[in-house]
């Protein structure tokens, strides 16, 4: 699966280049091919972190904590990709780097929540797994709000109904990139969770050593 993800990423630039120029925005809209999948993966990662937090807190599965950490870090990564590529695109197409509309504001807010989570895990000391899970749950509660908000409030950001109406030449590279990003997300999630599992094993091994 790692190989497939990497291969798709290698092919992506060619597909993007072959997509036609859009009338109003020209060349720069091609940022969209990476911006939108990044945004989707950001939301998926946030949701994963929330679900795993729920399992940790309410279903009492201690292993879920490894998945929360992994998903939260990936939420920070993909959130950063989205929040950097978006303004770079906006500068050309809207003329401004940033607007305080519903979707951008709530995306930034959820991103900050997961940055806070990462800080909490690094510097909070013992017991911060439960605290972080509570934080991540609150973060996940905001995810549907982000997705729906643009449909309820006036905003510059293209509404979610744009996607199904895309012409085929744009649709192919887009869905290709979505698949590539999804694979990347799954691969990174599993690798990062594996790191946590391995670290737990190291601790267990050290403890076993001490007892001998």
């Amino acid at each position: 699966m790692i190989g497939l993800a990497a291969a798709m990423f290698a092919v992506a630039p060619f597909m993007i280049n072959n997509a036609p120029s859009e009338a109003t925005m020209g060349l720069v809209y091609k940022i969209y091919f990476f911006h939108m999948p990044s945004a989707w993966m950001f939301l998926v990662a946030a949701t994963t972190a929330g679900v795993a937090s729920f399992r940790l807190l309410f279903l009492k599965r201690p292993n879920a904590d490894h998945w929360v950490i992994a998903a939260a870090e990936l939420a920070v990564l993909f959130g950063a990709l989205t929040l950097v590529s978006g303004p770079l695109w906006a500068r050309k197409s809207w003329g401004v780097w940033w607007v305080w509309d519903a979707r951008l504001t709530s995306s930034l807010m959820v991103f900050l929540i997961f940055v806070a989570y990462t800080l909490l895990r690094k510097y909070g000391g013992a017991g911060s797994d439960k605290l972080g899970a509570g934080l991540a749950l609150f973060g996940m509660a905001n995810v549907p709000f982000i997705y729906i908000s643009v449909n309820y409030w006036r905003t510059f950001h293209p509404p979610t109904s744009v996607v199904p109406k895309l012409p085929v030449e744009m649709g192919i590279p887009l869905w290709f990139c979505v698949t590539a990003f999804t694979l990347l997300y799954v691969v990174l999630l599993r690798l990062r969770a594996r790191l946590e599992f391995q670290r737990a094993r190291v601790e267990a091994l050290y403890l076993a050593e001490d007892e001998l």
């Binding site: 790692i2 280049n17 859009e22 009338a23 060349l27 940022i31 990476f34 990564l77 690798l191």
Partner: protein, 86 residues
């Protein structure tokens, strides 16, 4: 081992966008070509696109690389500890 292959392909994949972007864009079929408007009016798109894609590649690659290093370190530690246990 698989991780190293992944990293290698990512590095190679990172080289493509640079070359791909230098090829001239295909003439669009149904859309009005934008390059006809006066170049002085527009904010140049290339630095923005280059910045966006460049950032994404660097960020993803950097994360994968640091993750790979941490995984290697932890795996080495585990093999060492298991060896000591025996």
């Amino acid at each position: 081992m698989r991780l190293r292959m992944f990293l290698l392909v990512m590095v190679l994949a990172g080289a493509w966008p640079v070359r791909a972007m230098q090829q001239p864009p295909q003439p669009p079929k149904d859309f009005v070509p934008v390059d006809e408007s006066a170049p002085g009016e527009q904010i140049p798109a290339m630095p923005l696109i280059g910045g966006a894609y460049g950032f994404i590649w660097v960020a993803v690659f950097g994360y994968v690389w640091s993750l790979g290093r941490k995984l290697q370190k932890v795996d080495a530690e585990i093999t060492e500890l298991e060896r000591r246990k025996k």
